[in-house]
Symmetry: C2
Subunit: 203 residues, 2 copies
């Protein structure tokens, strides 16, 4: 399930998602707990909801960066980095490798952790690696309309899918040429406000 | 819900946990998906299970490190770092701060990301920070029997609760005095095999 990093908007009008709980789940504080959870009124199943991990990578082939054009909503037709929900049984690195394979038919080698972003509003933690493509042989997977290896100067900033894609690219740019650097986290200042997406200052 | 980092063993004899799905949930590949999920046979609710995030911190007061003695299973009576499941609506940093408050009545200031470990076998990603205690005034929370500020030489290595606690302490030790360092990840070699827990070589 390679659901996208996050929808640019949410709220009461957002379409129903497959993991939305049914209406007969009710909010209640289970015994021994200290906060409200969704509990099935029919069978008492406690539906714990925790933040989800999105894993992905800035994948390079020489100076070029792998982008994929989204074939699915939200943000269909916009450009993104290969990334998606981590599955049970894999490591964060394996999840990023799988997403590159699924979304861009790409074989990659993880270099190092680039960034970790908390997107609390939508309950996500996004874990982004720096990775090398093992071959320039990339192609759209089922969730992509198109893939491209783009030069830095050709990044379609205003057609990027999500603010975190802008962040990851800006942080990647800043980390270029460095092999040891602290993991980037949620930016402050202008870079924090990248919706609508655009080219950040100084990159 | 401050469920512990992970049980040292799992398997068919493991006790039923609150988030275990009921028996009438069945495995099935939902439409549009590519892997088996648990689906409620009564209402078709799809119970997506994804890795959970555990956030915590190595919290220091001068040279001393905050440890908490677990008052709950698994590993009741063993020593751990304040850490627990991240909740919706918070950032990873806020989750680590909350866990320090809940488990050790501790106020902390996050310094930087220390380590990120994937524990694929039990579907966890553990995110550990380096943090400073804002006061030495610590006390057991409801999930702790005791808390202590221990010197490095006094760490009760063989009474530590989980391998990742050993890893985080060893990586913390290696990072001491450094302000810029890459985030540590799953160790290899001897440090990868810290069950039963013991003092790693070279720390």
């Amino acid at each position: 399930m390679n659901t996208p990093p996050f929808p640019p908007s949410s709220g009461p009008d957002r379409p129903r998602l497959p993991w939305d709980p049914p209406d007969h789940f009710e909010k209640r504080v289970p015994d021994g707990d200290n906060r409200e959870r969704l509990v099935c009124a029919r069978c008492e199943f406690i539906h714990y909801q925790n933040p989800k991990i999105v894993a992905g990578a800035v994948c390079t082939w020489g100076d070029r960066i792998l982008l994929a054009k989204r074939a699915i909503e939200p943000r269909k037709g916009s450009w993104t980095l290969p990334a998606g929900y981590m599955e049970l049984g894999e490591t964060t690195e394996q999840a990023a490798e799988r997403e590159a394979r699924e979304e861009a038919c790409a074989s990659i080698e993880i270099e190092r952790l680039l960034a970790m972003y908390s997107v609390a509003r939508i309950g996500q933690v996004q874990i982004m690696y720096r990775a090398r493509l093992l071959s320039a042989d990339v192609a759209p997977g089922v969730e992509s309309e198109e893939v491209a290896l783009v030069e830095w100067a050709d990044i379609p900033w205003e057609q990027l899918a999500f603010p975190t894609v802008v962040w990851a690219l800006a942080h990647f740019h800043e980390s270029r040429g460095k092999s040891d650097f602290p993991t980037y986290s949620n930016p402050t200042g202008d870079l924090a406000r990248m919706w609508p997406p655009r080219k950040p200052a100084g990159v």
